[in-house]
């Protein structure tokens, strides 16, 4: 690795642009590694000696057995449900004639636009066993057929409610990975299976499912990771159901105790890290066994399964999923925001925009939270995208060595830990001496960038990987410098990736709760922090208005950027075609 480092340095010192690229990549790696190093130093180094005894502090957590049981039972069952739903929707859209076209492909991603906190609040307002608006409606309907209930029939404030909401919010992860797997699977294999006499179901289980085993494994890993890391849903639904989850306990140990119980919090978080590692090992073992299909290559086709009489019911199920996952919780938020207060029977005569005026104008804390979150999301997303793009340039453009591989791995390392662990590391690293950045906007910015940088890197990397070396070489042969090549050739091709990465970071940072709840201070309130504060002390009308505003801002920004990205994508494709025509070079596929 040392030899790789020397090679890379020699290589990079030749051009000022490449010096900047290398410096940014190394700073990004240091920023990603520092919080994690602080966590492990805090936990395992006592008085300058390695000491694992602090792991024992986990036993000080009251009700530990119950917390672990709740967490793992909810995460396992919700992951299974999300996997099944995501796989079914992906199969419908990619492999059957029940697809709803572009709308169908976009719809499973809609829950991404509704921040999990908004979704959790929406579900609670809708199906609280006694005051839920949806329950009151259902009781009314059931009353007409002679069934009179005092509460329910749905109880979202329960183990099943918590599991269900977690599953619904996480379906996009499994959909995203499995639909990509289905797109890459050669449809001819399924076609041959059917020609040999196998039916749709048999083909699915004997050909399709084994063929996307890799994607299913990745989906399970993602679902378990995000299930264990999620804080919004456990804190809203879990607390109402009096079900304590690991993420909520860790945050409470850090924010509701003095002094903060860092040792116990980190030890508890490491349980989640170990669980994800176990799933990862199982996934690797599963992949190393058995045989895989060779993907067909350029002649690849996707055979469409004709569902005949099942087509309409399947489409109805897909539409129902969208209504249930995204529209229903938003409807309840709209009702409560417009009527001003939470009620089983909405006071329609009370409709006004008062709650929106409250959170935007009258309530200075909410207004400044929106302002802080917008500023942090814009700057954080910009900083994250610039850093990620330059770090990818460092890793992918120069001479590949173990050192560049190491830098790449370090930048992505936070993604393998729970957001909670990384955030604790940021607190340990930056809140006290010598910087004293605790409860400032700067520590929030650092935290957001460190936590979300790996996601930006992965998003931009997929665009950057399409830029072949031939294009760079053609530019260099034509006399362009490193910076000129990057700005004129590479950057235009990765713009769609940059825009997508920016949109992803913006939405995540705007609605972030997990990192914000530990990093924000009362004088540096951000939206997630404020939502939680209103949930504990304020009016549900204001709560609904604020969560709706976040959803609207996220949706408008994402759709605008997608439109811009598509336009830029079309223009750059045209420009690239010209480059290809002139130079004969081809972008990598």
């Amino acid at each position: 690795m040392i030899r790789g480092l020397v090679w890379n340095l020699r290589d990079y010192l030749r051009s000022p642009f490449r010096v900047v690229v290398a410096a940014v990549a190394l700073v990004a790696a240091a920023a990603a590694a520092y919080p994690l190093v602080r966590v492990f130093l805090n936990l395992f180094v006592v008085d300058g000696r390695v000491d694992f005894s602090s792991l024992g502090q986990i036993t000080d957590v009251p009700g530990l057995g119950g917390i672990l049981w709740n967490t793992f039972s909810v995460v396992i069952v919700s992951s299974i449900l999300a996997l099944l739903a995501g796989a079914f929707l992906a199969w419908l859209n990619e492999r059957t004639d029940a697809t709803l076209g572009a709308i169908g492909r976009a719809m499973p991603y809609l829950p991404f636009l509704v921040p999990p906190i908004a979704s959790a609040v929406g579900w609670l307002l809708l199906f609280h066993p006694t005051v839920g608006t949806g329950n009151a409606f259902l009781r009314n309907v059931l009353g007409h057929v002679g069934i009179h209930l005092g509460h329910g029939p749905v109880n979202i404030a329960s183990w099943w409610g918590l599991t269900f909401v977690l599953a619904v919010v996480h379906v996009p992860y499994s959909y995203m990975v499995i639909s990509a797997g289905l797109r890459n699977l050669d449809g001819a294999l399924e076609e041959q299976s059917r020609v040999c006499g196998a039916g749709t179901v048999k083909t699915f289980f004997l050909v399709t499912l084994p063929g996307i085993r890799n994607s299913v494994g990745s989906a399970v890993l993602l679902l378990v990771f995000f299930g264990l890391a999620d804080y919004s849903i456990p804190v809203i639904i879990g607390t109402s159901a009096q079900i304590k989850m690991l993420s909520v306990e860790v945050v409470q140990l850090m924010t509701q105790k003095f002094p903060p119980q860092t040792g116990a919090a980190v030890s508890l978080s490491l349980v989640a890290v170990v669980a994800v590692a176990v799933v990862w090992v199982l996934q690797r073992r599963l992949l190393s066994r058995g045989h895989f299909y060779a993907i067909g290559g350029k002649g690849q086709s996707s055979a469409i399964v004709r569902l005949r009489g099942w087509r309409r019911p399947c489409q109805a199920i897909a539409i129902l999923f969208i209504i249930v996952s995204s529209v229903l919780p938003l409807v309840s938020l709209v009702i409560v925001a417009l009527t001003g207060f939470w009620s089983a029977t909405p006071a329609w005569s009370n409709i006004s925009l008062r709650t929106f005026v409250n959170v935007l104008v009258n309530d200075s804390t909410s207004a400044s939270s929106i302002q802080n979150s917008l500023v942090l999301a814009v700057f954080g997303a910009t900083l994250g995208v610039v850093v990620a793009a330059l770090a990818i340039e460092f890793v992918s453009s120069g001479r590949r060595s173990r050192f560049t591989g190491f830098v790449d791995a370090v930048i992505k390392a936070p993604a393998t830990f729970s957001i909670i662990v990384v955030t604790i590391g940021v607190i340990l690293g930056f809140s006290g001496s010598p910087l004293y950045l605790g409860a400032t906007l700067t520590i929030l910015l650092i935290g957001y960038v460190v936590v979300y940088l790996p996601q930006a890197t992965v998003t931009i990397e997929s665009s950057a990987s399409q830029v072949g070396r031939e294009l760079r070489e053609a530019s260099a042969v034509a006399g362009s410098s490193s910076s000129g090549t990057y700005l004129r050739v590479v950057a235009p091709l990765v713009v769609p990736g940059l825009v997508a990465g920016w949109a992803l970071l913006f939405v995540r940072m705007l609605g972030d709760l997990t990192a914000s709840v530990m990093l924000a201070g009362p004088s540096t309130s951000v939206i997630g922090f404020r939502i939680l504060s209103i949930y504990s002390n304020g009016s549900f009308g204001d709560l609904a208005a604020l969560t709706l505003l976040v959803t609207v801002i996220a949706t408008v920004v994402v759709f605008t950027l997608l439109l811009v990205s598509n336009r830029i994508g079309r223009r750059t494709r045209t420009a690239t075609s010209s480059v290809v025509a002139v130079t004969g070079a081809e972008p990598a596929r």
């Binding site: 006694t130 509701q256 105790k257 903060p260 009527t339 004293y436 605790g438 409860a439 400032t440 504990s536």
Partner: protein, 348 residues
């Protein structure tokens, strides 16, 4: 300009503008300041005006702090940043920040029941004991406002009331005093703020009820098929008509819920006790120590008391309150949880 250049320029411009967007707290801590004496009011006012603002962490009702802040701001032109925060989190956050040498709150306002926090912040030198602030109103007869061995002082009293749904209870059905809660007509219609999850105030209130009316009333209340919920959920359930009665609550809280259009009101009890909120004043390490001292002093003046008394349902211990607010009993200083739990029939 090419697309790439535009994107790069926008990105760099956004990053360059970051330090200029002075809309928040981006920096770290600062050195200790000199704190003027209340005896030299002109010097204190000038120093406070130079600091320009004061930050208040408060677990109290927002309407009270807003009224006080508005009057203070009108008199001195000093901005009051009110940060609403739950009492448990307030205690942890203040101490965590202070122990890192990064005191953010100039003044804290929390329930006087949270004596350990007030003691701790004074013992560690982060806050000045109220008795040592030199506030004229806290000497002589005014010393009765001091609490927790003089480390803090009471600045507002909120008489405990019964919240009720105005659509469900009218006329004679509205409870007139605490003994009404034992009436079987309220069975299954009462939501009680859960003392296990909502803080010691609620156990202490039950202790007052037990001390004043005896075990039989608390036992009778416990037999009413009570539903337990946190403060916010209880208030929302009352507004939603799920329950007819919400206890214990305050007139000021019910007023703010009623302002959203919810059909709720508070029944003011002729004999009751009051939740007492206390003040802690940070020392020289705070960002605005002079403004903090001036703000604390303002609360004890007739103008400050008038601002508190202007809020319907609360009263200042520094006089001027309407006679209609009555004279609430002192709040008990301790409670017997096991005894009260047994009377209510409430399991842990």
């Amino acid at each position: 300009m090419t697309i790439a250049k535009s994107v790069a320029a926008l990105g760099l411009a956004a990053l360059a503008l970051m330090p200029l967007s002075a809309c928040g707290n981006w920096g770290g801590s600062k050195a200790d300041a000199t704190v003027e004496s209340v005896g030299n009011m002109d010097a204190l006012v000038n120093a406070a005006k130079k600091e320009g603002s004061v930050t208040l962490y408060s677990s109290s009702v927002e309407a009270i702090d807003s009224a006080e802040a508005k009057a203070f701001q009108a008199k001195y032109g000093i901005t009051v940043n009110i940060i609403k925060i739950g009492s448990g989190e307030l205690a942890a956050r203040y101490q965590t920040e202070a122990s890192a040498g990064n005191v953010q709150a100039d003044v804290i306002a929390s329930t006087c029941s949270d004596a350990p926090t007030f003691k701790a912040i004074v013992d560690k030198g982060w806050a000045t004991p109220a008795k040592d602030l030199g506030l004229p109103a806290l000497s002589g007869a005014g010393a009765s406002a001091l609490a927790v061995d003089g480390v803090t002082f009471k600045y507002v009293l909120m008489p405990v009331a019964i919240g009720y749904n105005t659509a469900m209870l009218k006329g004679a059905d509205v409870p007139k005093d605490w003994t009404a809660l034992g009436d079987p007509k309220y069975r299954g219609k009462i939501v009680f703020v859960d003392p296990d999850t909502s803080g010691p105030f609620y156990w202490t209130f039950l202790q007052w009820l037990d001390n004043t009316y005896g075990d039989d009333l608390v036992r009778a209340v416990g037999a009413q098929q009570l539903s337990y919920a946190d403060v916010t959920t209880a208030r929302n359930q009352l507004g939603a008509g799920q329950y007819a009665v919400d206890i214990p609550t305050f007139k000021v809280s019910m007023n703010s819920t009623a302002a959203t259009g919810a059909p709720v009101a508070a029944a003011v009890m002729p004999k009751t006790t009051a939740n007492e909120s206390c003040i802690g004043v940070s020392g020289p390490k705070a960002p605005h120590p002079n403004a903090a001292k001036l703000y604390a002093n303002f609360m004890t003046t007739p103008e400050g008391a008038a601002a508190i008394n202007s809020v319907d349902g609360v009263l200042s211990p520094f006089g001027g309150a309407s006679a209609s607010m009555g004279n609430p009993d002192p709040f008990p200083t301790s409670y017997d949880e096991n005894h009260l739990r047994g009377l209510l029939g409430k399991r842990k």
